[in-house]
């Protein structure tokens, strides 16, 4: 927004300046000199106008970090436009003005200037000092973007209030993002001292594990610790800050902040293989009460009805109960078919069992060696997100109903919707599910978590 305002303000100046010209003292040269500014402003307007309704626009900052960058880049764009039009004007203008048609005559020689040391030193020095000035501003901006603000944010987990230094661990996977919240703090340095070759595979259990969508409180600076489990990705929410690469084996600090509640689009920007184009994410900033409610929902196991919970308990006890309805059949299917990769707290994963229990496949798998184990989105609160499959499909239709067609198609053959190489452990395999199995799984998935608000669902649609 700011950028658009700034640029259009300048644009207004352009034509006015041109209009001031009638005074006879003004020569053609004067007019030409004003021209670049007008052209520059015009182009800048064009640029920002075109960028007006883009979801990933880099020129519409919505948070202080993005603002810092924008404040630096806007004047620079303007200077660049002016310089360009001066050079274009000079080279094209000279070429047209001094043009000779036809062959050269023998006496067709201009003054033979071999150079002008003063002029040349001048146009060495001016850019030098100009660049030095921009350099100083840049250094300050870089320091600013890499600084950390100490802030504490009260979060209530299981009735216990915790002082959370807002911080999210971001893990890139082929081709989706995982967000992990540790409300009692996550000491990155101490964790790195454990010296795991690929730290992303050894992250401790978190209070909240979600994927595709990072939920943050608005107006708070959120520290990010970005890493990757496989190849290099890059995490980027343009409205909130620039990007930072997720490099396996390394944990990179970064941060972002949203001024106001809202829905901010993002896209993986480091080429990460086959489905790089389809690796997206969104950040949803909430006001304090919404965020508190979200935390409350997410820190509980999957929201099951009493009958379904009893059914799961019977399954765990090995009683082989027969499913009473589609949801219960779906729970059976998920435990049988999806547990190799996906975790659903309260369905295939429990707090009350030993680490090496079959039910705790996840805790075990997390330190495993295979690429796939533990490397699929946590589905505990699947229905609480508004996108799925790596942030690329909307989970709900505009009228708020479940986007059943897409979800079923996804289960039917994931690779048809999003290119993958499941044979090479990259992406979700085609399990050859029957239509009944798909219906049951969808029925169960729909019960996992509280639906997002109507506003969030509406904002999910890119326009």
């Amino acid at each position: 927004m700011t950028s658009v305002r700034n640029l259009s303000a300048v644009t207004k100046e352009g034509p006015e300046n041109l209009a001031e010209e009638p005074s006879p003292r003004h020569t053609r040269g004067m007019r030409l000199r004003r021209l670049p500014l007008a052209l520059a402003a015009g182009s800048a307007l064009l640029l920002s106008a075109c960028a007006g309704d883009a979801e990933l626009d880099t020129l519409e900052p919505r948070g202080p970090e993005a603002e810092t960058i924008d404040n630096l880049i806007d004047p620079l764009f303007l200077i660049s436009f002016v310089v360009f039009f001066i050079i274009l004007g000079l080279s094209a203008g000279v070429a047209i003005k001094n043009r000779v048609k036809g062959e050269y005559e023998d006496d067709d020689w201009p003054t033979q200037t071999h150079g002008n040391a003063k002029a040349e030193w001048a146009w060495t020095a001016v850019p030098f000092f100009g660049m030095a000035f921009i350099g100083v501003l840049t250094v300050f901006a870089v320091i600013d973007l890499n600084s950390e603000e100490a802030n504490a944010y009260a979060v209530e987990v299981d009735g216990e209030t915790m002082q959370w230094e807002p911080h999210v661990v971001v893990v890139g996977h082929q081709w989706w993002w995982e967000y992990r919240y540790y409300f009692d703090g996550f000491d990155v340095d101490a964790f790195l001292d454990e010296d795991h070759a690929n730290p992303a595979k050894h992250l401790p259990p978190a209070d909240i594990v979600t994927s595709g969508q990072m939920i943050i409180p608005a107006g708070q600076e959120i520290e990010l610790s970005i890493t990757s489990r496989d190849v290099i990705h890059s995490h980027w929410i343009p409205a909130l800050n620039g990007k930072r690469d997720a490099v396996p084996g390394r944990i990179h600090p970064w941060k972002l902040e949203a001024d106001a509640p809202g829905y901010y689009f993002g896209q993986c920007t480091e080429f990460c293989g086959l489905s790089h184009a389809r690796m997206r994410m969104q950040t949803i900033a909430m006001n304090d009460s919404d965020f508190a409610e979200w935390v409350d929902q997410q820190t509980t196991p999957a929201t099951l009805s009493d009958e379904d919970a009893a059914f799961i308990a019977a399954l765990r006890a090995g009683d082989n109960p027969s499913p009473a309805n589609s949801v219960q059949q779906g729970l059976v299917n998920i435990r049988q078919l999806c547990s190799a990769c996906h975790l659903v707290e309260g369905v295939n994963h429990f707090d009350d069992v030993p680490e090496d229990s079959v039910d705790n496949i996840y805790k075990e798998a997390n330190v495993g060696v295979s690429l796939r184990a533990g490397a699929a989105p946590n589905l505990t609160h699947f229905a609480s997100r508004s996108t799925f499959a790596g942030g690329i499909f909307n989970l709900y239709n505009e009228d708020g109903s479940l986007n059943r067609n897409k979800l079923e198609a996804w289960l039917r053959n994931p690779a048809a919707l999003k290119a993958n190489d499941a044979d090479n452990l990259q992406g979700m395999p085609n399990l050859g599910l029957s239509e009944d199995q798909i219906d049951d799984i969808v029925a169960a998935l729909e019960t996992f978590g509280t639906r997002p608000s109507a506003t969030v669902i509406a904002e999910t649609f890119a326009e």
Binding site: A51, T58, T138, G242, F271
Partner: protein
């Protein structure tokens, strides 16, 4: 050592000279200057230059078709022309092809053809090595492109981008053979560039005509010299990186395996320490070309020659201290980021000097808007856009928004297409009469220029907007609703306009060649130009110059035609036709053609395929390569039966001083010198 010594000993005794002609069954050197053999086995720098150009233009068509496929795919949201896997392969091959198989060899074409001529030399320092660079480049190029169909159509094509970041380039994530082709192919191409770099550096430093001090060399020659030094130092870095990659992929070396504790940023550092100087390797030749073209069509000497040279050298130097600006978001610490950000900004200073000096050259000039000049002015203005967008992302904070978006794609196309390629086209139009004896048609040329410049801006201009709108690079498709539709469509239309422009260039060659039959010969100097290559007949005779030139001035040839009066007036003192060499000299000793460069180069792809598929092929490749080295060493310096009459020539040379101690041997019989000098050294070493 002993092998080298033998010929020396044999030559010592007259009676054994007969044996030396064909030691161990080594073939007699090929002869003749007509027919296909005269091209395959040539060591003539001009023919080698032309062949570099022809092969590069062939690859240009392949790279261009890849570009069109990309633009077709992205013209509308959710494009279905290419599958994601194919798209990744195509954008990878487009980048690799255009950089390594088009721009670099096109620059090599001009370097080979023009550098010896501009220096007033007979040939390059090591003519056979020159042929070797060409054929190794061709071998590497075809090896790389063969990945398109070997093992199935688009089955084993490199798919990791030209930057090929680890660990995505590992076998775990990219199990096809594609990246093996990348690693081995670039390795082969690196040999070609490295050999050529050494050759041209020696040529520049040792083989200049008498009186041509370094600061009298034309700006093009200077820029090419800087480029060769950049190649000489940059290529070993990528060579190391490619070896690490190859060992990782083929023999499990774990250099980039994170699970074994590797840091994938190692690849990025190595790649960009090479990759950034590479950018200047691509652009500086074009800077040199337009520094020749603009003065001629402005009728003024280059403005600030020494600043032009110094800024070129400065760009070359600074280019080594900025590589990490490709890695601003890779997770370097803030101090590294700030330092590389500031160092990058200062590259703008020498670059700005160049641009303003070109403008100042035109300032007050008498400008003829030939096609060559139009392309040159195109470079000045279009490269400026690329330079300025470069400044906007040298600002590291801003780069965190811009990097890996289409803004970057726009930027480097304005640099590489708008800067390098337009400059090369300027060079085509300018030197075409020198190379082939006829001018390219100006009318078609202008269509060529305007279509290309309009198409270029249509294609890449909107990418600035797309990038700032947040469109990521290297995505095979995009969804509707993100605001990308309009400008992608414009961009795709532009790509076809470029294609038409380039097609017209080829039409122009055809038309001009036909027309030339009905036109008078162009003469040695059709543009009233300034440097030494115009001081001999067009097309350049095989021996370049009839007699050696003694250089007195920078722009020596111009000063032979024109004099500056006291009052600044320029008056004619001679006509080019009268002072230029007519190419009629006979009895000029020239290095004989050789089979071995071609044979040696042909072994390399076999080794490459062998490493990837079956080690037995390495044996065949090794046999060819080692055999060729053997033949090369034993090759008689000259065919004894050839009637060059080189004794006269040697006699003349003895009297003239080139300013370099070895010049008499080096410049008339460089090919001999290569061997004689080597054997002498070896002999001395073993004696001592």
């Amino acid at each position: 050592m002993a092998i080298i010594e033998n010929p020396l000993e044999l030559e010592a005794g007259d009676e054994v000279a007969q044996v030396a002609e064909k030691p161990l069954g080594v073939l007699t050197r090929p002869q003749g200057s007509t027919g296909w053999q005269s091209w395959l086995f040539t060591v003539d720098h001009k023919r080698i230059g032309i062949m570099y150009g022809v092969f590069a233009m062939f690859f240009f068509l392949i790279g261009g078709l890849e570009a069109l496929a990309i633009r077709l795919q992205l013209a509308v949201p959710n494009g279905k022309i290419l599958s994601p896997e194919t798209y990744n392969q195509v954008f990878t091959m487009h980048g690799v092809t255009m950089i390594f198989l088009v721009i670099m060899p096109l620059a090599a074409a001009f370097a080979n053809y023009l550098l010896p001529l501009q220096l007033g030399a007979r040939d390059v320092a090591f003519p056979r090595m020159n042929a070797l660079s060409l054929w190794v480049f061709v071998a590497g190029g075809f090896f790389l492109c063969s990945s398109l169909f070997i093992g199935g159509w688009f089955e084993n094509v490199p798919n990791g981008g030209w930057f090929n970041y680890a660990p995505n380039s590992g076998t775990l994530f990219s199990p096809t053979k594609g990246i093996d082709f990348y690693a081995v192919g670039l390795q082969i191409l690196g040999i070609a560039s490295l050999v050529s770099a050494i050759n041209l550096i020696v040529t520049c430093l040792n083989m200049r005509a008498e009186g041509m001090t370094l600061m009298k060399m034309p700006v093009l020659t200077w820029m090419l010299l800087v480029v060769q030094f950049l190649l000489l130092f940059a290529l070993p870095v990528i060579t190391v990186a490619l070896f690490l990659l190859m060992f990782d992929r083929l023999w499990g070396a774990n250099f980039f395996n994170v699970e074994m504790g590797a840091d994938p940023l190692l690849w990025q550092h190595l790649f960009w320490i090479f990759g950034h100087p590479e950018v200047y390797i691509l652009i500086l030749p074009s800077f040199g070309i337009i520094s020749e073209v603009i003065p001629v069509f402005s009728r003024k000497p280059i403005f600030g020659y020494s600043f032009m040279v110094a800024s070129g050298i400065a760009i070359g130097f600074l280019g080594w201290g900025v590589w990490a600006h490709h890695m601003f978001v890779s997770g370097l610490g803030p101090i590294s980021v700030a330092a590389f950000s500031v160092s990058t900004m200062f590259i703008a200073v020498p670059t700005g000097v160049k641009i303003l000096n070109w403008v100042a050259t035109m300032w007050g000039g008498r400008i003829q808007l030939t096609t060559a000049m139009l392309f040159a002015i195109g470079v000045v203005s279009m490269f400026t856009i690329g330079g300025l967008s470069g400044v906007t992302h040298s600002v590291a904070a801003a780069d965190t928004q811009q990097t890996d978006t289409y803004y970057i794609v726009a930027h480097f196309h304005y640099v590489i297409f708008g800067g390098a390629l337009l400059g090369i086209f300027s060079g085509f139009y300018f030197w075409w009469p020198k190379m082939f004896g006829y001018k390219l048609n100006e009318k078609w040329g202008k269509w060529n220029f305007w279509l290309q410049i309009v198409g270029f801006n249509l294609t890449f201009g909107p990418m600035h907007i797309l990038g700032l709108q947040g469109m990521s690079r290297r995505i095979d498709s995009y969804d509707p609703g993100y605001g990308f539709e309009l400008w992608n469509m414009v961009s795709s239309i532009g790509a076809f306009v470029i294609f038409t422009g380039v097609a017209i260039f080829f039409v122009n060659i055809y038309v001009s060649q036909k027309q030339a039959k009905h036109l008078p010969p162009v003469g040695p100097d059709p543009w009233d130009a300034r440097s030494l290559e115009w001081m001999t007949a067009s097309p350049t005779p095989e021996h370049n110059f009839d007699e050696e030139i003694v250089v007195e001035y920078q722009d020596h040839f111009w000063h032979q035609k024109w004099a500056e009066e006291e009052d600044g007036r320029v008056v004619r003192i001679a006509y080019a036709e009268d002072i230029a060499h007519d190419g009629s000299a006979t009895d000029v000793h020239l290095p004989s053609p050789s089979y071995w460069p071609l044979v040696l180069a042909s072994g390399l792809p076999f080794i490459g395929y062998g490493i990837i598929y079956n080690y037995w092929l390495c044996a065949i490749g090794g046999f060819l390569t080692l055999g060729a080295i053997f033949g090369w060493i034993f090759e008689h310096p000259d065919d004894p039966d050839a009637a060059h009459g080189h004794h006269d020539d040697h006699g003349d040379d003895g009297d003239s001083d080139h300013g370099t101690p070895d010049s008499d041997t080096v410049d008339t019989d460089a090919d001999d010198a290569e061997l004689v000098t080597a054997s002498t050294d070896a002999g001395e070493a073993s004696n001592g």
